[in-house]
Structures are given as C-alpha cells and as structure tokens.
C-alpha cells in the first residue's frame, strides 16, 4: 500500500450554517494511491467535508491545496478539471437518456461521428471492469433500470476517462443500493484503482467495508476529526468508541426504568416499519415521548409519514388513535409558508377552531399566536411580521407552535431541532416534556443522540427497520451508536 504525492491537503477548514458548526477546523489529506475512509455518526461533518472537497461548498476559513496548487477560487468545475470525481447519494443521471448518452453528458469531448458508439464502449468497458455480470446495456434507458443498476452506472461513470485523467474519486455511501455481491465487486475495484494510482475517499456506515478497503481511516465527530490512523490499527470496537459509542456485549435490555404509570396508558400509536421482518413494532402510549434514533435516513422519516397518512384514515383498531400533527425538520421544503406572517403560520393547523361564525377571526388568530409566542418564547416583536424575518431557530419554534396549538393528540417530530441553537433547543425540550405530562404523545425522530435523553424510550433504526429498543436508562449515545453500527447477522 505505497502512497505517493499529496493529492489533497486541507488545513483548518471551517464551515458554519447559521448556528451550526458543520466543520470546526478540519485538517484532512489524501495521498495518491491512498484510500481514505471517513466515518462518523449524524452531524459529524462527513458530507460537508466531501462537498468542500468537490468544490460544491465554499468553506468559511481554511486552506485548500488540491493537486499541489493552493485553490483560491475553487469550484466544482475546477475540481472536475483537476480530476476529481464524485458519486453522491443523489443520483445525477438523466432518467430519460440512455446509459451511453449519460456517459456523453459527463464527457463533453466525446462528439462527432460515432460518438454514441464510443461513449457506449467507454461506459460498458468500465462496467465490465468494475461489475462483471452487470446486465446493463449502453442503450438502456436509465429510467428503466433498477436503483441498484443506476447506482452501478453512476459509479462506473465516475471512473471513466476520456480526455483528462481521474485522480481522486469520492464515494458517499456508494453501496447503499447495491447487493452484497455487487458491493464487494465495487470495493475490490476501489482497491485496484488505488493501487493503480487513483486516490479515493470513501464514506460508509458499514464499518466492515471501511476496515477492509481503506488504507487510512478518519473518524469525525461534531465537525472535527477525532481519530485518524492507518486502517490496520483500527477495529470495529475502536471505531465505534472513537465515534462516541461503547461496544457493549450485554444484550439490549428492554426492562428498563420505564415510568410505571405509563404501562397502563392507552396505546396511541402502533406501527410497523415496512422493512421490518421480525414482527417488532413501534408502540407509543399516551403521554410518552418515544424517540426514533439511528443513522439519518434509515427509515425514521418514512415511519413518521406513514403514521401521518394513517391518521387521516381513521378506523377502529387503527395504527394511530387520534389526530396528529407533524413538525417538519426541513422547514423550507416541508414546513414554513414563506409568504405568510408568523401568526398565520402558527394558526394554519387550527383554522377551523379560529372561526367566529363562518369567517376566521383575526382576533382569535392573533391571540393564539401571541399566547404561543410567549409560551415558546418566539423572538419577534410582532406576530404579524413575515415568518422569514425570524431566525431559523425561531421559525422552527413557530412550526412547533403550529403543531402544539392544534387539536392533535399525537405529535410527530421529524428531526426538527437540526441546525437550531442550543438555547432554543432547551426551551423546546421543556415544552415537549410539559405537553407530554399533560397527556400528549410524541414521536421524536432526532439525529442528535443528546436529545434522546428527553425521551422515555427510543427505537434505533437501521436500513428501514427497528433494530433495537432502548429503555430510559439505556438512552446513551454509546448504546445508540453501538446499535446503529451493529454487525449485520
């Protein structure tokens, strides 16, 4: 595993999004002929680091040296010109084009007579090289391919070379849609490429893959690199410990310190994740705060949305026993109505109750908004101000107020405190606990394991199914990380 010259060298890279420090002074480097694995739990900063690396995100501070030159006006075009290729989780193929045409899109130099044949040859050769037996033809329309095959095409395309050489390939969870056989084909290819001179950065939550394929591993946590060493000096236990988890050999005990009185409370939610094979269900009783934990994007949001949909179809013995409200985590896409005032954003879930006669009463609406402004401490001089005049944290509070002001008995929270400042978080936690004590049920998906301390119980998700149920006493970061990275049977 000889290493060559330096491909990438970052010093002191910082990036903040509002109150959140995504990267907090990161020194990162990749040498030629080196495969670097990047691991970490939610919010560690892995994706942000990769986006800085490929030029998609401009850091607030720090020095970037790529291919030996310091980069002052780094951009994704520049990165591509320097030979950086990336495969991110959002696929960037055009579904209406064929595989060969997609290859052409990537390589502007392939044109003129016979371009289709050349592009097809290029991608097919690479597919054969990486994934023998792939079953993909250059004339296949991408929209007709399964998600696994699409990912194969995307990966293969990143390795194709037409005019400029590929020097570094960034792979962000590349095996997420691949089956076991195809994943191992990919990792074998990564090793071969690295030995042939291409550098690689690999993000994966499957620790076995990282340990097996990488020369060096870097562990990130809270925007910093907390451990970095040759891969042979790491094992699963050490990686999990470095991430903040403690590998525990004791079986998960579900007889924990449950609040006894809640045992008798009526069940409000009973749902089974789609991918669950062992019959485990998520159960929430009245007055409970039930956490949904685990790595981001492993089925928690899907379950919340399924619960939301189930609630709109009430029937006896239903999975969800009462009206629900959802607090969105991605405020821009799922929550905030940008043209409206704070007051209207809060009142929108309670319109029917705000009526005096047939019309909505502005007085009632304002009163509702005012009362919640005080209760949840939304920092704005006037609830009639536009919602976008509020800071991110206060906008999130308004979304909370919307859910809590409604008649919903069950509140679903889709990682709503992501990116919110600490002070706001504390205020919201207090409120959630108070509301639960008053009889509301909360399903709380959070990517910050700290927050789980507010929950009575938590379910850890992995790959779309529940893998562990943790009782109150077990709601430690260590246990959650351990369950998230547990070895697959």
């Amino acid at each position: 595993m000889a290493s060559g010259g330096s491909l990438v060298e970052f010093k002191g890279v910082e990036k903040s999004y509002g109150a959140v420090r995504a990267l907090d002074g990161v020194d990162f480097s990749i040498l030629e002929r080196e495969c670097v694995g990047v691991v970490g739990h939610n919010g560690a900063g892995k994706s942000t680091l990769m986006h800085v690396l490929n030029g998609g995100v401009r850091p607030d501070a720090g020095r970037l040296v790529v291919a030996g030159e310091e980069q002052r006006a780094y951009s994704s075009a520049r990165a591509k010109a320097l030979g950086l290729r990336c495969v991110f989780q959002e696929l960037s193929l055009c579904p209406n084009l064929t595989v060969a045409e997609n290859a052409r899109v990537f390589h502007p130099s392939i044109r003129g007579f016979g371009w289709r044949r050349r592009a097809g040859r290029l991608i097919l050769d690479k597919l054969d090289e990486i994934f023998p037996g792939h079953g993909v033809g250059p004339g296949d329309l991408v929209q007709d391919l399964s998600i696994g095959r699409r990912q194969m095409v995307e990966i293969a395309r990143a390795f194709t070379v037409s005019d400029a050489p590929a020097r570094l390939v960034i792979l962000d969870e590349p095996t997420s849609s691949l089956d076991v056989r195809t994943a191992s084909q990919l990792l074998a290819h990564v090793r071969r490429s690295v030995e042939a001179g291409i550098g690689c950065a690999l993000i994966s939550h499957i620790l076995a893959e990282v340990l097996e394929t990488c020369d060096r591993i870097v562990v990130m946590r809270d925007g910093k690199i907390v451990a970095a060493d040759a891969a042979r000096n790491f094992d699963r236990k050490k990686l999990v410990a470095a991430m903040g988890g403690v590998a525990s050999e004791t079986a998960t005990s579900s007889a924990g310190l449950q609040r006894g009185r809640r045992e008798e409370a009526p069940v409000q939610v009973r749902m089974r994740p789609k991918r669950q094979t062992d019959g485990q269900e998520l159960i929430a009783r009245e007055g409970e705060i039930v956490g949904l934990a685990g790595l981001a994007g492993h089925g928690q949001t899907d379950l919340l949305l399924a619960a939301f949909a189930a609630a709109s179809r009430p029937r006896a013995g239903a999975p969800v026993a009462g009206p629900v409200a959802l607090v969105a985590g991605d405020r821009q896409s799922d929550g905030v109505f940008p043209q409206w005032s704070v007051s209207r954003n809060i009142g929108v879930r309670s319109l029917k109750r705000l009526r005096a006669g047939p019309l909505i009463s502005p007085r009632l609406e304002r009163a509702l908004a005012e009362s919640w402004r005080q209760r949840i401490k939304i920092r704005t001089p006037d609830v009639d101000n536009p919602i976008l005049s509020l800071s991110g944290g206060n906008q999130q509070k308004a979304l909370f107020a919307r859910a809590l002001a409604s008649d919903a008995r069950i509140v679903l929270m889709d990682d709503p405190m992501r990116g919110v400042d600490y002070g706001t978080k504390l205020e919201v936690y207090d409120l959630v606990r108070a509301e639960a004590a008053a009889g509301r049920t909360f399903l709380w998906y959070t990517t910050e394991t700290e927050e789980l301390k507010n929950c009575d119980r938590a379910y850890v998700f992995r790959d779309g199914a529940i893998v562990a149920e943790l009782a109150q006493g077990e709601l430690t970061e260590e246990r959650v990380i351990h369950s998230s990275f547990a070895e697959v049977a």
Partner: protein, 315 residues
Amino acid sequence: MSAANAILGRPWIWSFLGAGVVWLAAIAFTGGYGGGGMLTAALSLAVFMVVVGVGQMFVITLGPGNVDLSLPANIGLASAVAMKTMAGDDRLVVLGLAAALLSGLAVGVANYLLIWALRIPPIIATMSASFIIQSVDISYGRGLQIKPPPGFADFANIQLLGIPLLAILTALFAWGAHVALHRTVWGRSVTAIGQNIHAARLAGIKVEPARFATYALCGMLGGLNGALLAGYFRGANVDIGNEYLLASIAVVVIGGTSVSGGKANLPGVWGAALFLVLLLTMLNTFGVSAGVRLVATGLIIVAVITAAGGEREAR
C-alpha cells in the same frame, strides 16, 4: 416606515398608478375632452375583466401550472344558455342567471375531474375542455340571435352618477372575494397550497377539496360573466368571451398576484383591469388598429411577467 413607503410598498398600488397615468395620457391627447365618459366606459368594461380575473386569480394562486384556459368557451356557452333561458322575458332573468351559473359550474367541475381523475395537467385539461365546450356552444346557440330581456339589458347598463351599477356591485364582489381569500378556511388553503403543496398537506390542509372548489368557482364566475356580457352588449354569441382569456391572466399578473402561486392580490385585479381597459381606450383614441392593440397587450404581459420574475431560488 414612512407613510409614503407604506403606500408605495403595497404592490397593487402600481396597477392603479399605471391606470391613472394611462388615463392622463389619453385625455391629454384628446385635449381634456371626454375624460369622465372615458372613465365610465372603462369602469363598465373593467367589470367583466374583474369577474373572471378573480376566478383566474384563485386558480393561479393554487400553484405553478394551474390556469384555466377554458374561460372564453365557458363565457360563450354561458351567454347562450342565459339568453335562451331568459327567452327575452324579464320574469325569467333570475332563472337565466342561475342557468348560466350552473353551466359555468359544470365546466369547472368537468375541468377538475379531468385534472384529478385523469391526472391531466391543468393547462391541457382546460384547453381540451374548451374545445369541447366551444362545440357545445356552437350547436346549442346556433342560428338565433338571442336578445336579452329588456329589463336585464337595461340593468346591465344602469349608471348612478356616472358610475355603472355593475361596477359598484363588482367592487363589492371583489371586496367579498378579498374577505374570502383571507378569512375563510378555503381561502387560506388555496394560498397555503400555492406556497408549498407538500407543507400544506403536512399542515393538515385538505388539498383536493380546496382545488375542486377553486376550479368550480372559476367556472361559475365564467358563467356569470357570460350572462352579464350578454346583457351589456345586448346579445349572446360564441366569440363574446374570446378576449377574456388573456385579459383574465393579464389582470392577475399585472395586478401583482404571483404566477408561481401562494400570493394573491385582489385590489390589484381591479387596478390592472382599469389599466388594461384604459390602455385599450387610449390606443383607440390614438386611432390605432386592432393589430396594434393586440401587439401592445401581448408585449405588456411579457414585460410585466419579465419584470416580476419567476419562482424564488429557494428550493
């Protein structure tokens, strides 16, 4: 914020200012003659634009891709239905109006069914529907030049102190629509859906009933407009609604409603209607031909939408 800022900050002011400027230009050309009459005529004609403009406004506010292209055909059919039902008899006026409203409602419901059940994009659904409605109208209203009952025709032309009665009624109607937009569950639903349909669903808004109601209302307003036009111009015909497609969209756009949905502007509809009508009047006063009028209207639309821009960058 100073008073001047507060006034100029309201987007609908601009359309009224524009209307004022055009009126001044027109009377400057005529040497101050006929300014009052021009205003009266403008108010009369603006009424018809406002009625359908309001309906179109609600549809457009539902979000990008929502527009009702079936209005001209709807208006034509409704005018024939109204006149035939009234059959020149003053006692049947109310029945005729009801028939026109029903005809428009049927169009609106049909549009929505095409959109919802067959998942046809609103543009195509309403355009196709308009062709079918046109045929219905042609065969239904064939031949007879149907005149409105004299009482109804007079009513459509009454003026109080130089202000047409229809204009007053329409102003009241616009005010009512404004209240509906801001203070009914339906109105809030429409603006929520237009801003972010996904967030609206997650906030508990009943999206499909709101869309249904909106298309149905737009259809009904088209029907009403047909009946009123037939009364004002003393006769129904297939083409009576033709200029109202662009007019309905124009008053919405020029009046400050966002074409990407979620932000509706009701006073602006009136201001824009006056502006458009006065502009056409001014062009007439200058003696320009039909062709120039069309070009001018079209260019203004393009200019206004270009100035307003499209969706925000976010998301």
